[in-house]
Amino acid sequence: MSEALLQVRGLTRDYRLIKKREGVSGGLIDLVRPRRELLRAVDDVSFEIPAGEMVGYIGANGAGKSTTLKMLTGILTPTSGEVTVGGLVPWRERVQYTRHIGAVFGQRTQLWWDLAVVESFRLLQKIYEVDEQTYQRQMGIFDDLLDIGDYLHQPVRKLSLGQRMRCDLAAALLHRPRVLFLDEPTIGLDVVAKENVRQFLREIRERDGVTIILTTHDIGDIEQLCRRVIIIDKGRVHFDGELEDLRRRVGQKVRLTVDLRDTATSAELAATTGDLPVRWTSGEGRRHQAEFNRSEVPGAEVIKRLVNGAHVLDLSLAEQPIEEVVRDIYRQQGRPTP
């Protein structure tokens, strides 16, 4: 029997909050008797991840994703629960553990702001004791896959967000970690930069077999990268399984927005799609919105009917945002999965 590389059991984290009272007198009372409150950001989370897997850890804003990742990387000490990664407890054996992992936390860079990118890499080379041969090979790979060669000599503060994210990814992988933790690696990036990052992650995983755990808000990241997803909401795990399975449960909802040449009522539009399972949710005048499920009706069919039945100027389709997927799961189950 092979044990999973990463094992999480009953992981829980509370934050201590100080609630401020109002006004001057409130401020004075606060000084003497601060009102403390506990916020349970991560609540009894358990899962296992075998080596080499790429897992999406998803949930709405404030669900507890970053907090979980901070505990898995040894930044935060949990209130209770256990984590072992390859036999090491992150926060207890931090120095030894961090040699084997890489991490990128969203918008915040791990690099030295004022140093040229390459200087940051040289420092990291010393810190992680990467030999020169490995260093050169890794840099070669990064240049191939990420094109960072062009701005290696620029200070980090002068890079665009997309360039910086690529450098951060490279920096996190320089020492060839076994596990890579990514917190919102595509947040704020434009479409091209997002695609670059996704492509890179796929390749690096195939090449090195590195285990990747990434949090995201973007269903696109998940669809393109992860077979397995873990959904959390209010600190609790609500789903842990294959993406396919998730799709089967909540379907593939899409939101359609139509702009018409002339004003129309919802009823008139509903008539164009007739018996198709399309729900017109809102709209008046020239702009209307509808929802339908791709697993029930192909998008092309809906659009064909619409264009035939009304003077459509423009239309767009949007994937259901992750927040709604989570809400739907919630609604279906009515209770958290064990």
């Binding site: 901070k70 040894g74 930044i75 990664v85 090491l88 961090t98 040699r99 915040r108 992680y128």
Partner: protein, 278 residues
């Protein structure tokens, strides 16, 4: 996969050497960065030299009027003053990151990054930036000590030289320990104003012979906020004063104890670190 078997440098000395190399790398980067802003560097050096010159002028004007202070001659007082600059300079060189630690590292969340790297957190924070003006203090302190020592006809032997090599770092440990302890408090209380500035002001009391103060102040500076150990007690090794030369050697255990206590507090604090939202 068992990560426990794949270890980095091990053993006390190899790790110390490795940390020395990291220090070298950080310092090298720092110098490069400073050289990139050459003007800043020049302005800094000028500013520090200027403020030192003023301090010295004040001191000599003061002592051209008063020839002695509670039984201590001007030269002895000057010697203590000069000595006090050595550990202070050493401390200033590495401790700039203690100032604003709460803002930068805790409220700003920069401590996350520190925790992600396989190097002792304290080593990283201390070595991430240096304050070169510390070098000026060391140079000036040495000059003042040599001048005062010559006036005192002080025969500086090998033993004295060794004592200096031990006492200065020990006194620097006292400084570093005190401010490290204060800095560690910010892991529990995100305090923007901080205790450091008022405590920093108390340092100036340590530059004069302790015996000029009243008993409560002496007790306070010896046992509570132990700044008597950063200049007066160790300096007495050289300038004498009754039984004091032996007391001077106590600077070593005091430094070690204060600093170890502070390091312990620091690590307790780091385990209590709560990071920041988003």
């Amino acid at each position: 996969m068992d990560l426990r078997t794949q270890r980095g440098t091990e053993g006390f000395w190899p790790r110390l050497i490795w940390q020395g190399r990291i220090f070298g790398a950080y310092f090298g980067q720092f110098v490069k960065m400073r050289l990139a802003y050459r003007m800043d560097f020049l302005v800094d050096t000028l500013a520090v030299s200027f403020s030192m010159a003023i301090q010295l002028t004040v001191l000599s004007v003061l002592f051209s009027k008063i020839r002695a202070l509670d039984g201590w001659s001007f030269e002895q007082v000057l010697f203590i003053y000069g000595f006090s600059l050595l550990p202070l300079g050493l401390f200033n060189l590495i401790s700039v990151n203690f100032y604003g630690f709460s803002d930068k590292y805790i409220i700003g969340g920069k401590f996350d990054r520190v925790l992600l790297r396989p190097v002792n957190t304290l080593v990283q924070v201390m070595f991430e930036s240096f304050n070169v003006s510390g070098l000026n203090e060391i140079i000036l302190g040495t000059a003042v000590m040599i001048y005062a020592g010559m006036k005192l006809n002080f025969a500086f032997g090998v033993g004295d030289f060794l004592a200096l090599l031990v006492l200065v770092p020990s006194a620097a440990l006292v400084y570093t320990g005190v401010f490290l302890a204060i800095t560690s408090v910010s892991f529990w209380h995100e305090d923007r104003m901080g205790l450091a500035p008022p405590v920093y002001n108390i340092i100036r009391f340590s530059r004069y012979p302790l015996t000029i103060y009243s008993l409560p102040v002496r007790v306070f500076l010896t046992f509570v906020l132990p700044f008597a150990w950063v200049a007066f007690y160790p300096a007495t090794w050289f300038i004498g004063g009754g039984q004091l030369p032996l007391v001077a050697l106590l600077t070593v255990p005091v430094g070690v104890v204060v600093f170890s206590g502070a390091v312990w507090m620091w690590h307790r604090g780091a385990a209590n670190y709560a990071s920041t939202g988003s």
